[in-house]
């Protein structure tokens, strides 16, 4: 057999073996993340140079066996059994954890018998292993080079690179570990079990336990685990973890977010000031820049959340949360793995939906994605606070419950209840091909590798900005165009009327220009649309102004406040909205013969914002994560209908 130069390497191994750590040590930040074709499983590729040669590395999803039990495992099987695949590796780096030696070697023996060129990397060799020495002559007999790598320090990576460069393919010399063709067993479940048992027998024979004490260690029960899954302490600790995460996000993410907001406002102002006026400059200053700004503002929240989520994942704590929550959420059509994505959505649905990837059951994952935006996210807070201070009177209930606080709490509770109820509805609608299973490994607890956490954060932010960003920017330009253009005759007439009014009333320039902006919006296509839908939203207690604000805030919920400021001709001040509140309070609905904003119409509007899917970024992320346009569209519609009906009921309850 002629010696083929090694160019393409695949990293393979069980989940939680430090596979990705080795990938990251080899490639650094030199990596791209995409999806495997047709499925939402991360496909990480990277490369590195060694002795003047470039090596391409692909990090395959964690796999227990060559007989696939999940989408991830199917991808690995399909690739490794098809040497015509363009990703088919010249060499597999098989990563096995010394502390999980027996189970980790199963897949190794399968790949060995399939004749795949392989190099063995042992991780956690510094830990006391329960199985006899791994410096076993067996590797030499079987022509498998072995390298020790320390995932924490990166020790051994240079040796690994050297071993890859010197690799000699000796596949021809292999004698099978277990006789029989694994390819023929792909459809034969019982044959698979027998084959697997024989492989375990081989592993046990060649790597026996180090004695009675080691055997006792197999059943070791960690003290930490007893605490983390304790009926009382377990939930208390989980609540505390969430509390800390939210404290951090709400305290620290707002600083860079405000900074980014301010910077984009300045940038767009600067562009308008220094470039000649015209439609092209408007497109850049009012469409493109705010659109990109709308993508970038999410970055701090996404980065913060993924920082914490990957720590939970890295330490192994996540699987403890799944363990204690599974039973509680199952009646709702969710599983334990849905809990953290849903809780994350209280800060922002985007990282919540992105992190739903860990839910291996397809239907449960889809349900989680569909209901996640019902959890009240931080973008709803400006809308809630504006409306609460507008219509909810000061006062106490039972002498000690603050009325405004109670309403805010009720809005959050409403979102949570709706998310759970809608999961039940979707569970009933979406029939599963086969019921999901939760037979899963609980990896041992370990301190997080911060390098690994950092790389995950960068990767997730990149995916959001580059993939979802495109859709967000495109759609925000469409929204901008609808808000800036209108039938020219109608616009001209309205503007002239303002000019005359301004002259008659001796208005200041500022007041005049604020009125002009308002009149432009009112007569733009969105404004016309707002007027046009008035009959539809009238039963909810709304007028055309709220119609406009609802349509414009499809971009993002907090846009509601800015749109209201434009419509009521007050410049938006970010500190407090006292001028806006004043104008809104004085607004009188002639048709109804009462103020526009009453408790009924205000609460109805709040409830509308609890349910309606007013977020382009979520739409774009759902599109990416479900690889379809069908699901985000269904989501917008069902949430819209839910919002409409609930607002209708609320309005009539409080009328």
């Amino acid at each position: 057999m002629s010696e083929k130069r090694i160019e393409r390497i695949a990293i393979v191994g069980n989940p939680n073996t430090g596979k990705s750590t080795i990938f990251n040590w080899l490639t650094g930040l030199n990596q791209q993340v995409g999806n495997f074709p047709g499925v939402t499983v991360d496909r990480k590729k990277g490369n590195y140079d060694f002795n003047g040669q470039t090596y391409e590395v692909i990090d395959l999803p964690g796999t227990y066996s060559i007989f696939p039990r999940s989408e991830e495992e199917r991808i690995v099987r399909d690739l490794l059994l098809n040497n015509q695949d363009s990703d088919f590796p010249d060499l597999v780096i098989y990563v096995a954890d010394r502390t999980q030696w027996e189970r980790n070697l199963l897949l190794f023996t399968q790949l060995y018998d399939l004749g795949i060129p392989m190099l063995l990397v042992k991780t956690m060799s510094d830990q006391d292993a329960l199985w006899s020495s791994s410096q076993h002559p067996i590797w030499k007999d079987r022509h498998i080079p072995v390298v020790d790598v320390n995932g924490r320090s990166g020790e051994g990576i240079q040796e690994l690179k050297a071993a890859i460069a010197q690799f000699h393919n000796a596949v021809d010399l292999r004698k099978p570990i277990v006789e029989g063709d694994l390819r023929e067993l792909q459809e034969n479940l019982e044959g698979q079990v027998t084959n697997t048992q024989r492989r375990y027998a081989w592993i046990k024979e060649n790597f026996p336990l180090k004695g009675a004490q080691a055997k006792e260690q197999l059943f070791h029960k960690s003290k930490w685990d007893s605490l983390l899954i304790h009926p009382v302490w377990g939930y208390a600790i989980f609540a505390l973890v969430l509390f800390v995460i939210f404290q951090f996000i709400f305290r620290f993410a707002s600083v860079p977010m405000d900074f980014i907001d301010g910077w984009f406002v300045q940038l767009s102002g600067g562009v308008k000031e220094y470039l000649p006026a015209g439609i092209f400059v408007d497109l850049i200053a009012e469409g493109l820049i705010p659109g990109i700004g709308g993508v970038v503002t999410f970055v701090p929240q996404i980065a913060f959340l993924f920082f914490f989520l990957s720590i939970l994942e890295e330490t192994g704590y996540m699987s403890r949360v799944v363990f204690i929550m599974d039973k509680l959420v199952r009646p709702f059509g969710l599983n334990g793995k849905s809990v953290v994505p849903l809780m994350s959505s209280v800060a922002c649905a985007i990282p919540g939906i992105m992190s739903a990837r860990t839910i291996s059951n397809g239907r449960d994952r889809l349900i989680t994605i569909l209901v996640a935006p019902l959890m009240s996210c931080s973008a709803r807070i400006p809308v809630y606070t504006l409306l609460i201070s507008l219509v909810i009177p000061e006062g106490n209930l039972l002498g000690w419950i603050d009325l405004k606080g109670l309403v805010l709490f009720a809005l959050y509770a409403l979102g949570l209840i709706a998310a759970l109820l809608m999961s039940m509805v979707f569970k009933w609608i979406l029939k599963a091909k086969h019921e999901g299973f939760m037979v899963m490994e609980m990896p041992s607890l370990k301190p997080p590798l911060m390098r690994q956490v950092g790389i995950t954060v960068v990767e997730k932010v990149k995916v959001f900005v580059l993939d979802a960003g495109k859709v967000i920017v495109a759609l925000s330009i469409v929204l901008w165009a609808l808000a800036s253009f209108g039938p020219s005759e109608r616009l001209q007439r309205a503007e002239e009327a303002i000019m005359i009014k301004a002259q008659e009333n001796h208005l200041t320039d500022e007041a005049r220009s604020e009125m002009l902006t308002a009149v432009k919006l009112e007569n733009s296509y969105i404004g016309i649309l707002g007027h046009w839908i008035e009959p539809v939203i009238k039963p909810l207690g709304y007028d055309w102004k709220m119609g406009i604000a609802i349509i414009t805030s499809f971009a993002a919920r907090e846009v509601f406040v800015g749109s209201m400021a434009t419509i009521y001709s007050v410049g938006q001040d970010f500190e407090d909205n006292s001028r806006l509140l004043d104008r809104m309070r004085k607004d009188f609905n002639e048709d109804l013969g009462k103020p526009t904003y009453t408790i009924a119409s205000g609460l109805s509007l709040m409830v509308f914002y609890v349910f309606a899917m007013q977020c382009l970024a979520t739409f774009a992320v759902v599109q990416r994560e479900t690889t379809s346009w069908k699901w985000p569209v269904i989501q917008v519609i069902y949430m819209g209908v839910l919002a409409y009906l609930s607002a209708l009921i609320t309005y009539h309850l409080f009328l």
């Binding site: 329960l130 479940l189 079990v193 048992q197 599974d326 039973k327 041992s444």
Partner: protein
């Protein structure tokens, strides 16, 4: 020797697997070391008794009660 279905085994009990009902789950369980002849111990139960976690071959595997019904152990 007393044979019990894993779903009704008490916490802390150790035993040897005598039977796993065949099917997709059996194959998945075998990958993780849950097959006839292997020794396991129920080491944790979630607060409402479901799921439970067993130690096998140095690995902790969690399974729902309905999944544990597939396994019989002798202690």
């Amino acid at each position: 020797m007393e044979e019990t279905v894993l779903s009704s085994v008490h916490l802390g009990k150790r035993g040897v697997i005598t039977k796993v009902k065949s099917g997709f789950l059996a194959a998945k369980m075998a990958d993780l070391g849950l097959f006839e002849g292997n020794e396991i111990e129920v080491i944790f139960k979630a607060p409402f008794g479901d799921p439970l976690a067993v130690a096998v071959g140095g690995t902790v595997v969690s399974l729902r009660l309905e999944e544990a019904e597939w396994i019989t152990i002798a202690s």
